[in-house]
């Protein structure tokens, strides 16, 4: 059984504290947390003693992260390490496989490895070479426009996330010009046209390959309604909208 407190260590290219970008570290730790919670689902709010996964500190002079997990997550720590050692991820829940695959993708891109807690004294090292099948039936893709707030643009490799209305985080990929444009709209609400990927079980998007950014005109929601009112002129004066909609949606002649 894994201990509640352990270390995760990045090794390889630029794996020293002064060379690491916070967005890259955040992505790795966040995905690791997602994997643990997918294996042992718990309500974070139900843990009175602190977060389900806490970052206790970074060991001075190295890329070692001291992590503390809630007791109920300890089996998940072992499960992830065992899967990495055995190179067998098939038995993990799909969200956990997706989270680990995301880590693998990030590690591959950075030329780094992630040393996990050992399992039965065997060293567990996640590398960019690992192949994890998530299965086509568990996600689907399609063209759409997603709307949300731009977050975490930039960093070492130019990344962006879109935070949707309910807090869902969607990773945004795209060419350099798109990422640059998102950077200039950091924290703004935008629309992103592109090919999105959704979880087939939850219908929640987790990624979009962007090919166009829609920027809203300046002004708040009051201004948006003012523009609408100005363009409509007298068209809707004295119209009861409820009646209008009812008539449109009724099948009566």
């Amino acid at each position: 059984m894994a201990a509640n407190t352990f270390e995760l260590r990045l090794t390889g290219h630029n794996a020293s504290p002064e060379r690491l970008d916070v967005t890259d570290v955040y992505a790795i730790l966040k995905a690791y947390r997602e994997a643990l919670l997918a294996i042992c689902p718990i309500d974070s709010n139900a843990i009175p003693t602190g977060p389900a996964v806490a970052l206790l500190g970074i060991t001075k002079g190295s890329a070692k992260f001291r992590i503390h997990v809630a007791r109920r997550l300890r089996p998940a720590v072992s499960t992830v390490s065992r899967a990495v050692i055995q190179d067998d991820f098939d038995g993990l829940p799909a969200p956990a496989r997706r989270a680990i695959r995301s880590m693998v993708s990030d590690l591959k891109e950075a030329g780094q490895n992630l040393v996990l807690p050992p399992y039965r004294r065997k060293s567990a090292v996640l590398t960019g070479a690992v192949v994890i099948e998530v299965g086509e039936a568990e996600s689907y893709s399609g063209r759409t426009t997603l709307y949300g707030r731009v977050n975490l643009t930039g960093g070492g490799r130019g990344r962006a996330e879109l935070i949707l209305g309910d807090g869902t985080v969607v990773r945004v990929t795209g060419d350099r010009a798109i990422i640059k444009q998102l950077g200039s709209n950091l924290y703004d609400e935008v629309g992103i046209d592109g090919i999105a990927r959704w979880d087939a079980n939850t219908n929640v998007p987790d990624r979009i390959e962007a090919d166009r950014i829609q920027v809203f005109p300046s002004g708040d929601i009051g201004h948006a309604f003012d523009r609408l009112a100005e363009a409509a002129g007298q068209h809707w004066d004295s119209v009861d909208a409820a009646e209008y909609v009812r008539a449109l949606r009724s099948d009566d002649e």
Partner: protein
């Protein structure tokens, strides 16, 4: 982001034109005043709104064709999410749930009634609007047709009507 149905959009813009004027219809004036209260709350909370594409279509189709480009442009301050792959999947699931509940409440009538329900225009448009709001992760869906939308949404998104004029319920502490 908050999703708005067609009726709320129209009451909202009427409230920006009203500025103290009355329509002569006390009920309509009250609904417009309540829409004004809603916009005030959204404004103070810094919220942006989405108009699901079928609702935007319902709004624009009433204008003469030559005016429609200008009307579409005036919608630029709103997100207009499409009925996409995710929305289609969600709509199919919600429609099935809704049909099953209709069958359960109308024992003996069975599939014929389901088909009749499915053919109704209100169901097709309402279902698309609800599904788009869910697929695009809206916090809430505002509509003048709370009962129908609540039944269709199966609890997957909060469905709410216009607030009372002086009621601060949306984002107030």
């Amino acid at each position: 982001m908050i999703a708005l149905d067609t009726g709320i959009l129209i009451y909202g813009l009427q409230s920006r034109r009203a500025s103290g004027k009355t329509s002569g219809d006390a009920g309509l004036d009250a609904r417009i005043a309540r829409a004004s209260a809603l916009i005030d709350e959204l404004q103070s909370a810094g919220k942006r709104c989405m108009i699901p594409a079928p609702a935007a279509w319902e709004y624009v189709l009433d204008f003469p064709m030559e005016e429609q480009p200008k009307i579409w442009t005036s919608l630029a301050g709103f997100a207009i999410p499409p009925f996409d792959h995710a929305a289609a999947r969600i709509a199919a699931k919600l429609a099935r749930k809704y049909f099953d509940s209709v069958v359960a409440s109308q024992k003996g009538h069975g599939k014929r009634d389901v088909k009749r329900q499915g053919a109704r225009s209100f169901l097709r448009v309402d279902m698309q609007i609800v599904a788009i709001a869910i697929a695009h992760r809206a916090e809430k869906l505002y509509t003048v047709d709370v009962d129908d939308f609540t039944a269709l949404s199966a609890g997957d998104i909060p469905v709410v009507g216009l607030p009372q004029e002086h009621q601060k319920t949306l984002f107030s502490d």
